[in-house]
């Protein structure tokens, strides 16, 4: 290995990346390509397939259940990503200090992140249901009637979003905290000496300094929330009548309940396409901002 020089291009240098590339090719790229191929077929989970060209995609565009799932997914991203990005930022700014109290609070706000989705939904069903749920109990003490958070089509996605924000707050907060620690203390000292207001300090120093983390948080959360599955599957099964069925649950149902895996693969390609577009867009916009600076 020592003979291999970094300055000279050499096959042996490539050995460092080979283990990962093998895993990547076999477990990600191959399934992706196989999925594209599968999406062009009418295929059953238990074998048997026939080439149908783009028919599955045509079917998807006419499938109101699918279109509803796509709408739900976008709505859910809209409901979760901004609160996650903003609340986590607020918490990080407030808790970015070396006191015991701050450490305690950091622990509190991160604690839910370590729970698995099954536990989260188990807990939140008992918070959200109108019959004896925590919220219903609190409302009852205030003399108010319960709210059908999981069975009203207009409330169900916000309820799942609330659950999700509660669950996912920890990671973005940590990322922000990490970024805040990198902001040179001199900047703040200078601001304080200039008697800059809190707001000015925030907008002139803090935010510009952690701009890249902000973008990173938004990207990561968009991709994560776009793939909503467990919360909806476990809390509502996508109901009432599809009002909380996300794209991924649609794929799951078509593939493993209806066994129509060609159709499920086609829906998967659309999910892939949407995330690809989102990623490229974000890449392009961040690039442009870099260029402007």
């Amino acid at each position: 290995m020592s003979a291999a020089s970094p300055r000279r291009s050499s096959w042996t240098n490539g050995l460092f990346v080979t283990p990962y590339l093998v895993v990547y090719l076999v477990l990600l790229l191959y399934p992706l390509l196989a999925g594209v191929w599968l999406s062009l077929h009418k295929a059953d989970l238990f074998g048997g397939e026939a080439f149908v060209g783009l028919e599955n995609f045509g079917r998807l565009l006419r499938d109101t259940v699918f279109l509803q799932a796509v709408r739900n997914t976008f709505y859910f991203v809209l409901l979760t990503v901004p609160p996650l990005a903003v609340i986590a930022l607020g918490l990080a700014i407030a808790l970015n200090r070396p006191t015991r109290a701050a450490a305690f609070f950091r622990g509190v706000f991160f604690s839910s992140s370590v729970l698995s989705v099954t536990i989260v939904t188990l807990i939140w069903r008992l918070v959200l249901i109108p019959d004896g749920g925590l919220i219903a109990n609190v409302l009852h003490m205030a003399g108010k009637p319960p709210i059908p958070l999981l069975s009203h089509p207009d409330l169900v996605l916000p309820a799942i979003a609330l659950t999700t924000v509660w669950w996912c707050l920890g990671l973005p907060m940590m990322l922000y905290l990490a970024a805040l620690q990198q902001v040179p203390a001199e900047l703040y000292e200078a601001a304080a000496l200039d008697r800059a207001s809190r707001w000015k300090t925030l907008t002139r120093i803090t935010l510009p300094s952690i701009r890249r983390t902000l973008v990173l948080v938004v990207i990561i959360q968009c991709v994560l929330q776009f793939q909503l599955f467990g919360q909806a599957q476990l809390l509502t099964q996508g109901g009432p009548n599809g009002a909380s069925r996300p794209l991924v649950l649609f794929i799951y149902e078509v593939g493993f309940r209806r066994w129509d895996i060609g159709y499920a693969a086609a829906a998967s390609e659309i999910l892939f396409g949407l995330i690809l577009i989102a990623t490229v867009l974000q890449y392009v916009t961040t690039r442009e901002k870099e260029a402007v600076r």
């Binding site: 009418k42 295929a43 059953d44 989970l45 238990f46 048997g48 079917r59 259940v65 249901i129 109108p130 019959d131 004896g132 319960p146 059908p148 999981l150 069975s151 009203h152 089509p153 809390l235 509502t236 099964q237 109901g239 009432p240 009548n241 599809g242 493993f256 309940r257 209806r258 066994w259 129509d260 159709y263």
Partner: protein, 437 residues
């Protein structure tokens, strides 16, 4: 960091060990997969000795004790268990024996995923002629037996007699039941005026299967042919409209509980939320136990009856049933023998299972004095003759049930006009059936 590759190496080695190690000894291992939940078996101090979970756990424990040469591995799947089972079939690794609804058998049988059980049943002396008619028909496709029927079940009216009495709806110790839609509305209003509670308790959030079962039963009493052939459903009919309109009226007038999911409705009924809970045979044992617990709302009286006929002229009820099926896979002769020894054991213990409230699948058990001596069994006995299933060739009955229930819920809660919802349900079901391979 230096330890990293070594760690990975050790991890990999450990993994391959875990992955490949298979114990070798002279015990025959078989895997049983079931629904019905996880609990401690019925016995001293059991919470609910006649619950499905307690009884099946007790039976499998007993079989294990009596057959030390067989090692049972019990996999508990979440109801209804088909997501997991489908994944297992797709992976080529299904269990040796698995619970399956009779309505789901055609899905797996049509793809050659399960074995015909005739020869195996014969080898252990279980004769399909001993099954009840409904049970036998439920497991027979193309002239072959594909499962050991364990029970038949049907949705029923579970009644809080105490509240019925309060509303003046008890005569000679029997609940007064409606005989038409108008009577139902009148009695429900009377009930609400007297007790302040809604007449019906229904599970309608999260899971809407009970709506579909209501529709099936009342279409059957009207003798409506809603499956013209196994690939087409017809729901845009006056018969269907009538049924949905009645439940919508009940909902609009507050004559039913609202927004409860299945667990909430179940505990709600036990807590005296309303007069009639629409749920299946499997709850009889549980509610009966409640009715013997002093101080509980059901202690003032509990009754259970098949759906009263509200529409049409025919006595009919939608029924389904649980069966045990044997998936296709490689087995040693010893494993095969072990599977059928368990099948025989389950067939012999059909009475124990019927304590849950389900109808036995063995005619001899239905006819036995000890079964007749169980509470409420006389009241539900007619199910054995009036029970109907969907046409046996209809595939994807669970998916169909979800679609119809979802659309009905939309109509009943007023989010869609009834006819639109029925048309949507019809279209979605036919689309599903059309695209079956």
């Amino acid at each position: 960091m230096r330890a990293l590759p070594r760690l990975a190496l050790i991890a990999a080695a450990a993994l391959s060990l875990f992955g490949c190690s298979r114990p070798h000894d002279d015990v025959t291992r078989i895997t049983v997969q079931r629904i019905f939940g996880e609990c401690r078996s019925a016995g001293a101090g059991a919470r609910n000795p006649d619950g499905e979970c307690e009884i099946i756990t007790g039976l499998l424990d007993q079989f294990q004790r009596e057959n030390p040469d067989i090692r049972l591995k019990v996999n508990i799947a979440a109801w209804p268990g088909y997501d997991q089972l489908s994944a297992q079939f797709a992976a080529g690794d299904p269990p040796d024996l698995v619970t399956m609804h009779m309505s789901a058998i055609s899905d797996y049988q049509s793809r050659g995923l399960i074995e015909p059980m005739g020869p195996g049943l014969e080898s252990v002396g279980v004769d399909p002629a001993a099954f009840t008619r409904a049970a036998r028909e439920g497991v027979t496709k193309n002239g072959q037996v594909w499962g050991l029927p364990f029970d038949n079940w049907a949705p029923l009216w579970h009644i809080n007699l105490g509240q019925f009495r309060q509303a003046g709806l008890v005569r000679d110790g029997q609940p007064v039941l409606p005989t038409s839609a108008d009577e139902l509305l009148a009695q429900a209003r009377q009930f609400k005026a007297a007790t302040g509670n809604p007449y019906l308790v229904q599970a309608m959030a999260n899971e809407t299967a009970s709506y579909t079962r209501n529709l099936y039963t009342y279409l059957m009493t009207q003798d409506a042919v809603f499956f013209t052939d196994p690939k087409h459903i017809k729901l845009t009919t006056p018969e269907a409209h009538r049924i949905v309109a009645l439940f919508k009226q009940m909902y609009d007038e507050g004559l039913t509980t609202k927004d409860q999911d299945y667990p909430a409705a179940t505990s709600g009924f036990m807590n005296g939320d309303g007069g009639v809970y629409l749920v299946g045979t499997w709850m009889i044992g549980t509610f009966e136990a409640e009715s013997h617990t002093p101080g509980r709302p059901l202690a003032d009286g509990y009754a259970v009856v098949p759906y009263p006929r509200l529409f049409g002229t025919k006595d009919a009820a939608f029924v389904d049933g649980h069966a045990w099926v044997v998936p296709h896979r490689d087995r040693t002769p010893a494993q095969r023998a072990a599977v059928y020894r368990l099948v025989k054991f389950l067939a012999d213990h059909d009475y124990d299972w019927s304590r849950t409230g389900h109808l036995p699948s063995m005619q001899a058990v239905i006819d036995s004095p000890r079964f007749k001596a169980l509470p409420h069994r006389q009241a539900i006995a007619p199910l054995a003759t009036i029970g109907q299933t969907l046409p046996p060739q209809v595939q994807r009955q669970f998916a169909i049930q979800d679609i119809i229930g979802d659309e009905m819920a939309s109509a009943i809660t007023g989010r869609k006009p009834i006819d639109t919802a029925l048309a949507d349900a019809e279209h979605r079901v036919n689309d599903l059936l059309f695209h079956l391979l």
